[in-house]
């Protein structure tokens, strides 16, 4: 009983860290640019497909694809930001929502056209497969790897945000864009770089998440609610809040599917309603 509980907790944490990795970019861009980007999941999907493509066509090992995926998706994000997204920075949320839904639909159709509607398989390297037996609990090695990766990414992000000049610029721009611009911070550049970083992280999350979340063309729509939820519950622009929200969602989702499978997705939506009812401004209390 306890063993299975710990196992569920572990899987939930792994799942939650994955959600965090994908959503943190959305949270920061929403806090920074006040841009509601429903197409964020599409970046994760692109990352996943890119990873599969690199492995099957170029025979690259799984781990080696990850930095490539990160950079490539970040570049795509930067290009889209420069060409399309920036034209809607000052538009209302309605326009941004419509625009990003349009992008999502296009991405879904394009992915189906290129890769077909089926699930994409991923071949994990041998040393990431299998289970580890620790104190009576079976821990999936791949999930351990996921948690490790996200811890590393979070620490790196934390360092970036608190200890570097770039991080200071992001924080300043989130807090008060006009004042930041007035102090000579190139807000536009900060926007692009942040957007690219967020897109790259989402792509990375999509690539390492194939084994957990699956990968098919409807990915951006299927998980849209989850990503938005992480941001809404965690509070836009807050990394700590997003992490907390993502872990909470991950644990509840996995536990719900394990203990009450017939309830399906109801657990997560019920949790959503409760959280939004009691924390309409997110856990960290920052305005979304």
């Amino acid at each position: 009983m306890l063993g299975s509980f710990l196992g569920v907790l572990f899987d939930g944490v792994a799942y939650g860290s994955l959600l965090f990795l994908i959503s943190v970019g959305l949270s920061v861009t929403m806090g920074l640019m006040n841009f509601v980007n429903l197409a964020h999941g599409a970046f994760a999907m692109i990352g996943g497909y890119l990873c599969v493509l690199l492995m099957s066509r170029l025979d690259m090992p799984f781990l080696a694809t990850l930095p490539v995926v990160f950079l490539a998706v970040a570049l795509i994000g930067a290009a889209l930001e420069r060409t399309l997204y920036r034209r809607l920075h000052r538009a209302g949320h309605l326009d941004q929502v419509l625009f990003s839904i349009g992008l999502t639909l296009m991405a879904v159709a394009a992915a189906t056209y290129v890769w077909g509607p089926g699930q994409q398989p991923v071949r994990l390297p041998g040393f990431l497969r299998g289970q580890m037996h620790v104190a009576g609990v079976d821990l999936g090695i791949y999930r351990l790897f996921l948690i490790g990766l996200v811890v590393a990414a979070t620490l790196a992000l934390q360092f970036l945000m608190t200890k570097t000049r770039f991080g200071a610029r992001i924080r300043a721009s989130v807090d008060n864009q006009a004042a930041a611009a007035g102090l000579g911070i190139p807000v536009d550049q900060v926007f692009v770089l942040t957007f690219a970083l967020g897109a790259g992280l989402a792509g990375l999350g999509g690539a390492v998440g194939i084994d957990v979340l699956g990968l098919d063309p409807t990915f951006p729509i299927k998980y849209m609610v989850y990503f938005l939820l992480v941001v809404a519950v965690g509070g836009a622009g807050s990394i700590k809040g997003s992490l907390l929200a993502a872990l909470l969602l991950g644990i509840f989702d996995v536990a719900g599917k394990y203990y009450v499978p017939e309830a399906g997705a109801f657990i997560i939506y019920g949790l959503m309603l409760v959280l939004l009812l009691f924390f309409p401004d997110g856990l960290s209390g920052k305005k979304a």
Partner: protein
């Protein structure tokens, strides 16, 4: 807050005196009268396309419901299909369980959607923009899941079938060509449209526009912002439910896709295509959307989704206000030249 697009989309471009006073004019213009002669004319002109015609009328009603909350009250809903599907399943369930009368089924569907809409309205109004998006999106997905899981009531993935269709007023059978279906849909849409038209020109409707533009200021003026928003949300839910019930009755089938995200997205696209915040935009958008879909049906449905996305992006970037907005702009320019 969603002030900018709304400010552009909101004002009906009437004669200048409306502009000056800023108050709506309840009189019928010639253009409106001409518009409403089109549906009856189509009945005689295209007898082979009446099923498509009734689909357009139903989609128009559905888009109208979204226009009330999005175009006028400024709440973006990504889950309006939840109410559409509630109405459809209610009417469908009644019809397949020995209650074939269409009108009472329609009322029941609409009422069920309104009842469901009330608690959700409370929740939606509570949040901010992002919260509202998520709640509507989540509620839509939740309803979809529920319809899939409760197979004993809804028929699950296969949908509800075996519906009896009673005679309208006990007189008119639903025929194969959709003649009754078309006239029935039109007969429901027109009075409901009149109701909406009156509603948005009433003090209640004006206060909604005020809330859309600046909720804080409206609250300071003493308008009960939350109550007004919940009110319009429930009204819109009832309209969406009526549209769903109509679809169930005229096609004699309800599937879980009537609740899905794609239906919510489609109605959003219809409205944006036609132009939000004008009522007529909803009808024009629905007609354009379904006609385009019918014409392009030879294409792969996937291409269709791609074009949909492209249309949305295009409208947002280059044609805010949609078709109706474009028409108004054109009319304004022509008027100035004269």
């Amino acid at each position: 807050m969603m002030t900018r697009p709304a400010a552009e989309a909101g004002e009906p471009a009437g004669p200048p005196r409306n502009r000056l006073s800023g108050l709506p004019d309840d009189r019928w213009s010639v253009r409106e009268a001409i518009f409403w002669t089109i549906p009856p004319l189509c009945y005689f002109a295209f007898p082979g396309y009446l099923m498509l015609g009734s689909q357009i009328l139903i989609a128009g009603l559905f888009a109208l419901s979204l226009d009330l909350i999005m175009g006028y009250a400024g709440i973006v809903s990504l889950g309006q299909a939840a109410f559409f599907g509630t109405g459809a399943y209610t009417a469908g369930w009644l019809a397949s369980h020995g209650w074939p009368d269409p009108l009472s089924g329609l009322l029941a569907g609409s009422a069920a959607a309104a009842v469901v809409g009330l608690p959700i309205g409370f929740l939606v109004v509570r949040g901010r923009d992002l919260g509202r998006l998520i709640v509507t999106l989540g509620v839509g997905m939740l309803f979809f899941e529920a319809a899939n899981k409760a197979a004993s009531v809804t028929g699950g993935v296969d949908g509800l079938s075996g519906m009896e269709a009673g005679r309208l007023f006990g007189l008119f059978d639903f025929d194969l060509f959709g003649r009754t279906a078309y006239l029935y849909s039109l007969g429901v849409l027109f009075p409901l449209f009149l109701g909406c038209r009156r509603l948005v020109r009433s003090p209640f409707g004006l206060s909604l526009r005020g809330i859309r533009e600046n909720a804080t200021r409206m609250a300071a003026l003493g308008a009960p912002v939350r109550r007004r928003l919940i009110g319009i949300f429930v009204i819109a839910a009832a309209l969406a439910g009526a549209a769903g019930a109509l679809l169930a009755q005229t096609t004699r089938f309800v599937g879980p896709d009537s609740l899905g995200f794609s239906r919510s997205a489609e109605v959003l696209i219809m409205l944006v295509l036609g132009g939000a915040g004008r009522l007529y935009g909803a009808l024009v958008g629905a007609a354009l959307f379904l006609l385009a879909q019918d014409v392009l049906a030879g294409f792969d449905p996937l291409y269709w989704q791609f074009w949909l996305g492209l249309m949305l992006v295009g409208v947002v970037l280059h044609a805010r206000g949609g078709v109706m907005g474009g028409c108004e702009l054109l009319a304004e320019r022509l008027g100035r030249h004269r």
